[in-house]
């Protein structure tokens, strides 16, 4: 059992949890993730390790409520426990001094760019970050990103905060300004990562993206997480999660992530009906 030491709400539907997992905390590197299972009936879902504290023996995860498991997790309280947490999984981000590195985070994806940005900074990169969300209330980790960035740009789709527009608009301007970019790392919704890759491709800028396919075991045993990369089948949980964005078949990933739409909706409806009322009451929002 893995105890929840701290819980903090970051934005609408986005929650930060600090979980006791000393051995994972000691081992993890930027870019790696865990797979967790909440209870005996639960699904196994992957979540990025946003941060860790080896002294306290905790890892930080930041979760967005999109379905039953993430809703249940967000409704846990400090002192509650998670049944299974396995990790650190996946290959760590390749970190080197790229000169200028641009970190692009969209929505919850910023939770993934934060540890990567920090590692790049520590490796001596000049870190330029572009983080965006649909609206101001959904923006997360602004202060944290500022602390690891030499320059920080913020965008909102509705213009309620920062630049009015998409992260790709800022990125395009930046490239047009003839600033030399060593590499771009983009993490966010798949359409956003696809758009970033499209922007950088004509300029031949190395662009890494962190993929989020549906997973089961997370150890390379099932093949659920396969994605076509440069025409080849790759397992994201062992070969990834980061790949060269110019080689990813994003459309296939989008389609595969919709495999269980019907079932997910059904699970969520049942959940809201049976347990949701109680949990939302307890949470008071």
């Amino acid at each position: 059992m893995f105890e929840i030491k701290e819980k903090k709400k970051l934005a609408h539907l986005v929650t930060l949890l600090r979980v006791k997992a000393p051995r994972i905390a000691e081992k993890r590197k930027a870019g790696q993730f865990v797979v967790l299972r909440l209870n005996e009936h639960g699904e196994r879902i992957p979540l990025t390790i946003a941060d860790s504290d080896p002294v306290e023996g905790t890892i930080t995860i930041i979760v967005q409520e999109v379905g039953k498991t993430t809703a249940l997790l967000s409704n846990k309280l400090e002192g509650d426990a998670i049944l299974d947490v396995v990790g650190p999984l996946g290959r760590p981000t390749h970190i080197e001094n790229y000169g200028t590195a641009v970190c692009v985070g969209g929505g919850i994806g910023t939770a993934v760019t934060y540890p990567i940005g920090r590692a790049l900074k520590e490796a001596g990169c000049k870190v330029v970050s572009v983080i965006g969300s649909r609206t101001k209330d959904l923006l997360i980790l602004e202060d944290e990103m500022r602390s690891v960035s030499d320059e920080l740009f913020i965008t909102t789709d509705d213009g309620s905060y920062g630049h009015h527009g998409f992260v790709t608009n800022v990125l395009e301007e930046f490239i047009a300004g003839k600033r030399k970019i060593g590499m771009v790392i983009a993490v966010g919704p798949v359409p956003m990562m696809r758009a970033v890759a499209q922007v950088t491709r004509p300029h031949g800028i190395l662009t890494m993206v962190s993929l989020n396919p549906i997973m089961v075991d997370g150890t390379g045993m099932c093949g659920s997480c396969r994605v076509t990369i440069a025409g080849q089948n790759r397992f994201v949980c062992v070969d990834g999660p980061e790949f060269n964005g110019h080689e990813v078949d994003f459309n296939e990933l989008i389609r595969r992530n919709r495999s269980y739409l019907k079932e997910e909706r059904m699970a969520m409806e049942e959940f809201v009906y049976h347990e949701g009322a109680r949990c939302y009451e307890r949470r008071g929002d």
Binding site: H41, R44, L89, G220, M221, C222, N233, R256, M266
Partner: protein
């Protein structure tokens, strides 16, 4: 045994094992076979003529003293029979169910020369079940602790065997298992209706009670490397990580929604219990028309699992003919009874999807049999112009497994074969790396439960020797 008595015994007909009716069982996940009653078991055990040089024991990869345990059953000493079995086989309730007996112990039983062989597997299952259900599982006396510690990587049959054998000799044993439950293929691959999971859980519990530590959610190569285990207090390491890397066919459309590897499909249904969705949270696409590609045990288990999720039709596509199918005869028979359809001498060439990327058909080609290949089986060759389409919305690919890369990636001094299996000595399980042993599917490629256990037994012996003498 005097010849007259033997003759009498040979006249006893082989006892059938009662089974759930096919029409009924195809709608549930309960075990297909009920097992012998005590009366049936005694009758069946009396068919054994107690050979002086029993051929059957030589046919068993772990050399169980078959006539001895069978005699105990014939005498009604069921619990003693189970104890006898456990001297050589840590998982008799499992092996009695899933061993390919017809190719091993029962194949060479003398009674089978003229009539039908003694049902050794069923008797093994009976004794083990009896012991478990009557709460007579005895914990053997553990000798004084040696103070040595062994790390076992992987909680499949190979790893569990090593753990049991070494803990009985007083060594400290920790099993590191990547998944949330130990058991390996026994829990994630072989379906509930063939091997109920509570049986595996009972065996694991037995090891725990003997003092084996089970650490689940521990992916070695990620959480800790082998070198870290060796420098961090373990005196030896056994690698029993299995053959868990699904092969695909590399044909167009293989990543459409609805195309599964057998491992994913079976893991969702068995380990994660998708057949009880939404009671359990993990979903699986049930489909209306399901095709399964392959002809082995894994393909058969996938097909029979699919049948139980109630689609309209489940078809197995196999590129050779029925005779060449590697799946157990009993299981092919069970599948056919349950309404499974077969397309022999057929191979998929392409999966076809709709505009949302969901599978809607598979294009196949007919195969002819050419000249024999290295395995001695005739090589299937595609018949040009014979392509045809079959409607389907779920396809399960069961064309074999390779070796998982996580441990080799982080242990560069392990020797590998060209298929990435770990190289280990067949007699001792020693790898080329000091203190590190390996066995089971990670060494053999996909094999059987009992062969993995045999590897575990031999490795445990040489680990014990290594720990006692310190000589590598």
């Amino acid at each position: 045994m005097d010849p007259k008595e033997a003759k009498e015994r040979m006249k006893i007909p082989r006892q059938d094992m009662p089974e759930q009716d096919p029409g009924e069982r195809v709608r549930n996940f309960y075990e297909v076979a009920y097992g012998y009653t005590p009366e049936q078991a005694v009758t069946e055990a009396r068919r054994c003529i107690q050979c002086k040089t029993p051929l059957c024991a030589a046919g068993c990869p772990v050399g169980i003293d078959i006539p001895w345990f069978v005699r105990l059953i014939a005498e009604g000493k069921f619990v003693e029979a189970a104890w006898k079995l456990k001297e050589t086989n840590g998982l008799p309730a499992v092996c009695g169910r899933v061993c390919p007996q017809e190719d091993q112990c029962e194949k060479v039983c003398v009674t089978g020369k003229r009539g039908k062989p003694v049902s050794i597997g069923r008797l093994e299952r009976f004794a083990a079940d009896y012991e478990r259900e009557h709460g007579e599982t005895a914990i053997p006396e553990i000798p004084r602790r040696t103070g040595k510690k062994v790390a076992v990587i992987g909680g499949g049959p190979a790893g569990l065997t090593v753990a049991g054998d070494l803990v009985k000799r007083g060594h400290g044993v920790t099993v590191f298992e990547a998944l949330h439950t130990p058991g390996g293929v026994l829990v994630y691959g072989i379906p509930e209706f063939r091997l109920p999971k509570n049986i595996v859980a009972a065996e694991v519990e037995y090891l725990r009670r003997m003092g084996v530590e089970m650490e689940c959610n521990a992916v070695i190569g990620k959480l800790e490397t082998i070198d870290e285990l060796l420098s961090g207090g373990f005196d030896a390491v056994f690698i029993g990580t299995g053959a868990g890397l699904p092969y695909f066919m590399n044909i167009p459309g293989e990543n459409l929604v609805g195309v599964y590897s057998a491992n994913e499909y079976l893991t969702r249904v068995n380990l994660m219990r998708a057949y009880e969705f939404p009671e359990y949270d993990t979903p699986v696409i049930r489909g209306r028309r399901v095709v399964v590609v392959g002809g082995g045990n894994t393909a058969m288990d996938s097909a029979r699992t699919a049948l139980r999720l109630c689609p309209e039709e489940v078809t197995m596509i196999y590129r050779r003919s029925m005779e060449e199918m590697p799946a157990r005869v009993e299981e092919i028979h069970h599948g056919a009874e349950e309404g499974l359809k077969f397309q022999f001498l057929t191979n998929p060439v392409r999966f076809v999807g709709d505009d949302e990327g969901r599978l809607k058909a598979v294009e196949c080609v007919r195969m002819g049999l050419g000249s024999p290949d290295e395995s001695g089986r005739r090589r299937p060759v595609p018949a040009e112009g014979s392509e045809f389409c079959m409607d389907c919305d779920v396809a399960i690919i069961a064309v074999g497994n390779g070796a998982n890369p996580l441990i080799p990636q982080t242990t560069p001094d392990l020797k590998l074969t060209k298929w990435n299996n770990i190289v280990a000595d067949g007699e001792t399980g020693r790898t080329g790396k000091k203190g590190v042993f390996a066995g089971g599917d990670i060494v053999r490629g996909g094999a059987t439960v009992i062969l993995a256990m045999g590897d575990g037994r031999r490795a445990a012996n040489s680990i014990h020797e290594y720990l006692t003498t310190g000589v590598w």
